[in-house]
Assembly symmetry: C2
Homo-oligomer: 399 residues x 2
């Protein structure tokens, strides 16, 4: 879709230096944080590879996340890729361009796995996807995940659900086959899409507290439990505004908001990041997938009583050209009707509607209130009753 990888680089070290007066050093690794000495051990990764101690007054930790690598035989073989940085994406593309693999196997049916499945299908490859769970996209409820599974199969992806990875057959250092508990899949290229974990080892070793899923704990000003030490992004913990509990999510939107708040506070200002409602969106070929709030699994874990309903409608007036299918699921608290979450699977124009539900979650709205939302309508954009309102209406009956 995007040909030039450089187009994806928002800011270069040169821009930081020249336009923002920030000494951004790439190819430098911090190997230790000395909190008492207020200093960092830094090692240069190219050139003379020297190491030294660098002092700090305020420290911002933004070490991001690392892809989860399964502990199975053969995982380090050539031809097996994780995709979590621009560089790793370029490596996959180079391999596809140069080696012309015919058969790709994706391990894991999350956002990265599904988006990579699409990318490989578009390159004309035979693509298989192995997912341990009953459906892909575990951030959706099973019924909604099933729609994504269908969309995936519709574009030609072979889907192997409820199968777990056992290892890889390797010959001459190169992956040959993916071995699951049910079958063996020939593979010229393998993509690991098993999610990420916070890259917080450095912080942990320094004695900074970790929380949810090993992410760095923060207050709402983005300060760690150590004065003058801050964190933000995929290494850092967030807070879920609906469950009112610590929450870990590795997404660019959250990272950006946390980074902005940390920056304001480090600069002497005052800002707080209240937290997230768990919104995410993805595109898998023509299918649009979005979610926000709590899903059934989380609600059951919390022991909250909820009702939910799933409706099917169209993204535009039924008679309007290109009116695509859209399925909306809304979850609300039993008794009160308070909105708890929502999920959308559909076609062009479907997914961005999740923002209505996300905004309503922030506003603490009930589905009874949502039924009256004055949402926009014109035939090119929606049916008279927007699918989100239709879903709210159905849920209202169950409160």
């Amino acid at each position: 879709m995007v040909d030039d990888a450089d187009a994806l680089v928002t800011l270069t070290p040169e821009v930081f230096r020249k336009e923002r007066n920030i000494d951004a050093r790439i190819l430098h690794e911090v190997t230790e944080i000395d909190l008492k000495g207020r200093r960092l051990q830094v090692r240069q990764l190219d050139g003379n590879k020297k190491a030294w101690w660098e002092p700090f007054d305020q420290l911002m930790i933004a070490t991001g996340a690392l892809p989860i690598k399964p502990d199975v035989p053969g995982v380090d073989a050539t031809g097996i890729y994780g995709v979590h940085t621009l560089q790793s994406g370029i490596e996959v593309r180079t391999a596809v361009d140069q080696e012309r693999p015919k058969r790709g196997v994706i391990i894991g049916g999350g956002y990265i796995g599904l988006e990579m499945a699409e990318a490989l299908v578009r390159r004309g490859m035979e693509v298989s996807l192995v997912e341990r769970a009953e459906q892909v996209m575990l951030t959706l409820d099973t019924d909604m995940g099933a729609l994504v599974s269908e969309a995936l199969m519709a574009v030609g992806v072979k889907l192997f659900r409820e199968e777990s990875l056992q290892g890889f057959d390797v010959r001459d250092g190169r992956v040959q086959r993916v071995v699951t508990d049910k079958r063996t899949l020939p593979a010229d290229i393998v993509i690991l899409g098993m999610g990420v974990r916070p890259n917080a080892a450095l912080a942990k070793e320094a004695g900074i507290s970790l929380g949810e899923k090993g992410s760095i704990t923060l207050n709402d000003r983005m300060q760690t439990d150590v004065e003058g030490v801050w964190a933000a992004g995929d290494c850092a913990q967030s807070f879920h505004l609906i469950s009112k509990r610590p929450f870990y999510v590795a997404l660019g939107t959250v990272a950006n908001k946390q980074g902005r708040v940390a920056g304001i506070n480090i600069g002497g200002g005052t800002a707080a990041f209240p937290g997230v409602v768990g919104t995410a969106v993805s595109k898998i070929c023509a299918a649009e997938v979005a979610r926000t709030g709590l899903q059934e699994r989380e609600l059951k874990q919390l022991g909250w009583k909820y009702v939910s309903e799933r409706i099917e409608s169209r993204t535009r007036a039924g008679y309007y050209p290109k009116a695509g299918r859209i399925t909306v699921k809304v979850l609300a608290e039993k008794g009160s009707g308070r909105l708890l979450g929502g999920q959308i699977v559909g076609y062009e124009g479907a997914a961005k509607r999740i923002d209505i539900l996300a905004t309503a979650l922030h506003g603490g709205m009930t589905v009874q209130e949502m039924v009256h939302l004055d949402l926009s309508y014109a035939p090119p954009y929606a049916p008279v009753w927007d699918p989100v309102l239709m879903a709210a209406r159905q849920v209202e009956k169950l409160i």
Copy 2:
């Protein structure tokens, strides 16, 4: 766009009769409401054209709106059309198909005027649009309306702003030219797009109270000031949740919500329609236009102090194919930061974002709160900071 006019008919009298046990009579006109006698004078428009009195227990008035017809010479000439019913739309299409007009003139730059301008341009006609105000689309602020004017001119519509209609030159009963205070425009077909007014004469004659712009006054259960007499839709008044004042708007979404609430109450249930925030959306060729809340003109009339900012961004990540331009304007209360309104002009994927602002208005949010909204992000759908958040951030600085 839609070839078959029948596809636009949602429910026929047959469906009402057979599936819903409702005796829906078309081609019957009510000529008088006798409130004391609890009866209606009904006249049959076809067949034997007989008239009689029909008794009622509960009366629902849903007489809709009528197009505003200018009081100028020649307005009744052949070739001049209003477009407010399916039938009038069919008449325009028939005229265009059969008479092959070359030059179309639109009077009025509101939704209908602009959508008709698009329709005639698509038919290959030379289209002129006459608008009395500085910009088209008076439901937008002037700066945002200017963007719509630009979009209109970009598709080839000749725009005559700050010109008022004086009359029509007519020969043999047929319109020849449109006369404004500045020029004369040859016209084979003329479309009146000067808005609508509530069709409430029958209610008024019966003694039912009228309010805003002559619409039927209602409580939030959709009851008029007469027990057992209800109203909904384009003939009826609504309530603006932000100005907290009576409000008149002729839109299908509002009509549907009002109708549903009236139906529940007439049927013995209990429902209330709290009101609207003034959301509307339109599509003019590729341009998407949307608005919600109060605009500058209304805020000045109310004497409210406000701040506003306009930002330009993209509907998708900047590097993503088909990332269209989007301009978002947000208005908030000076001091408190309470969101007061928003307007959007842009291209594919722009307009439906108005629902975020509409939902935030319903929730009584401030722009300070909106900055933290956990809106969805993925490159096909938005930049990391959604344009709506960017606009809120800019307005926050002015509070």
